[in-house]
């Protein structure tokens, strides 16, 4: 048997797949982006269709059994919360407000914020409660959350979070190297509400305040306070759920101007 030794050439790297990692990364990221977009659009469409078919009565019934207040101690002692609840009850009688059993709960958190939970529960942080002084400010904050109920944003938010969560579990189901990556992608996808939804809720809130109190002065003060206590750089609002306070003031002024001119015109029904 004659053995012939040949010089090693590139062929020794035939199955090494050397230098293909970045190409591979680029290609896979493009695939993943397309997949994520398609899946998210499908989920959002399905959720919107389903939410549109859920009546307020069904919503109240559906989330009655899953009451969150069982886990949150009732705060009867806080007079400011009781005051806010009475403002909420008054706003709730307005015809444009969805008929849900509204209840206000206090969330111990320094960060000023408020949340709409399915079934008519509104959570307000202690940080926001401390900032508010006048009735009209309370009314606007609550009106904004009622706007989320009116537009069904809270149901959509939950629907999307559940849909995206299930989809990620199906797609990645135990294969993903790190769980946190899947969670993070999900976090970005289900930012609670979009800017457009927040603006719509602002508009609903200001209209409700105007119809209930006949004026809107004092609401802009709220955003001035928020702007002053604001530590977030303005670029960070790109990733935030709520728009920049100065943008919100501008939006509100435009909306109030439009509403005023509508009311002043003879066709307006006030």
């Amino acid at each position: 048997m004659k053995l012939v030794n040949r010089e090693l050439r590139e062929s020794s790297d035939a199955s090494a797949a050397r230098g293909t990692a970045f190409k591979e990364l680029r290609r896979l990221l493009v695939y993943a982006a397309i997949l994520a977009l398609v899946v998210y659009v499908i989920i959002a469409t399905v959720v919107d269709l389903v939410v549109a078919r859920i009546s307020y009565e069904t919503e109240a019934k559906l989330f009655q059994s899953a009451r969150l207040e069982k886990w949150i101690p009732e705060e009867k002692s806080n007079p400011r919360l009781v005051e806010a609840q009475s403002i909420l009850d008054q706003l709730g009688t307005s015809p444009e407000v969805p008929p849900l059993p509204y209840r206000l709960i206090l969330l111990e958190n320094e960060c000023p914020n408020a949340f709409a939970f399915p079934g008519g529960m509104i959570g307000i942080t202690s940080g926001l409660l401390d900032l508010l002084t006048e009735e009209i400010e309370f009314a606007f904050v609550l009106g904004h959350e009622l706007g989320h109920f009116y537009h069904r944003d809270h149901l959509r938010g939950i629907g999307r979070a559940v849909g995206v969560g299930i989809t990620f579990a199906i797609i990645f189901g135990g294969q993903m190297g790190s769980d946190s990556l899947g969670d993070s992608v999900q976090y970005v996808l289900d930012r609670r509400y979009s800017r457009a939804q927040e603006d719509a809720a602002d508009d609903f809130g200001i209209a409700l305040v105007y119809h209930t109190y006949g004026r809107t002065e004092g609401v802009d003060r709220l955003f001035q306070i928020l702007e002053e206590s604001d530590s977030m750089p303005s670029w960070a609002y790109m990733f935030s759920t709520h728009p920049d306070p100065s943008d919100r003031i501008r939006n509100l002024k435009n909306f109030v101007d439009a509403m005023m001119s509508e009311t002043d015109s003879p066709a307006g029904d006030g």
């Binding site: 790297d13 896979l28 294969q175 190297g177 946190s180 960070a236 990733f239």
Partner: protein, 156 residues
């Protein structure tokens, strides 16, 4: 909110990016080393045949083996997990296994660098699972064969 997002999203991305840099550098160095040693050993043929060339007197024949364990990095795992969704060749694992096989064969050769040839080569691969979900953590490659040294004759 952005701070939370930076932790949730930024940390895994940073780990993957770090693994991308270190993994690529280490792999490049490993391949350079493999090529260099393959050059030095290329006069020692390795055959998969069971027997040995008859008619030549043999002075020594014994088993040689070499093994290595090569670890996956986060970047390769990330690429592979994306491949798991879309299908196709998992190229990030190809280079890993290629490194393992060639390193194991080189170590086997190094066990008897005076041998004239190695016959009956066998290569075995096993995965060393890690973590709760038994994900592929590293790959072990074992190469073994029979090293043969011919008796030196006056003509050589």
């Amino acid at each position: 909110m952005p701070a939370e997002m930076i932790i949730n999203l930024g940390f895994p991305i940073a780990v993957i990016a770090l693994a991308m840099i270190t993994g690529t550098l280490l792999e490049k160095r490993h391949f350079t080393s493999i090529r260099r040693r393959e050059e030095t050993f290329h006069r020692m043929p390795v055959l998969t045949v069971k027997g040995y060339p008859t008619g030549t007197p043999i002075s020594k024949a014994h088993m040689v083996s070499g093994s290595t364990v090569v670890s996956i990095d986060y970047f390769k795992r990330f690429l592979a997990s994306l491949r798991n969704i879309f299908g196709g060749e998992v190229r990030s694992y190809c280079s890993l296994l290629d490194r393992g096989r060639r390193e194991a064969i080189l170590r086997m050769k190094a066990q008897d660098s005076e041998a004239d040839l190695i016959v009956n080569l066998r290569v075995e691969t096993s995965s060393v699972a890690q973590g709760k979900r038994k994900q592929l953590g590293s790959t072990e490659v074992l190469a073994y064969g029979t090293a043969i040294t011919f008796r030196k004759t006056a003509t050589e």
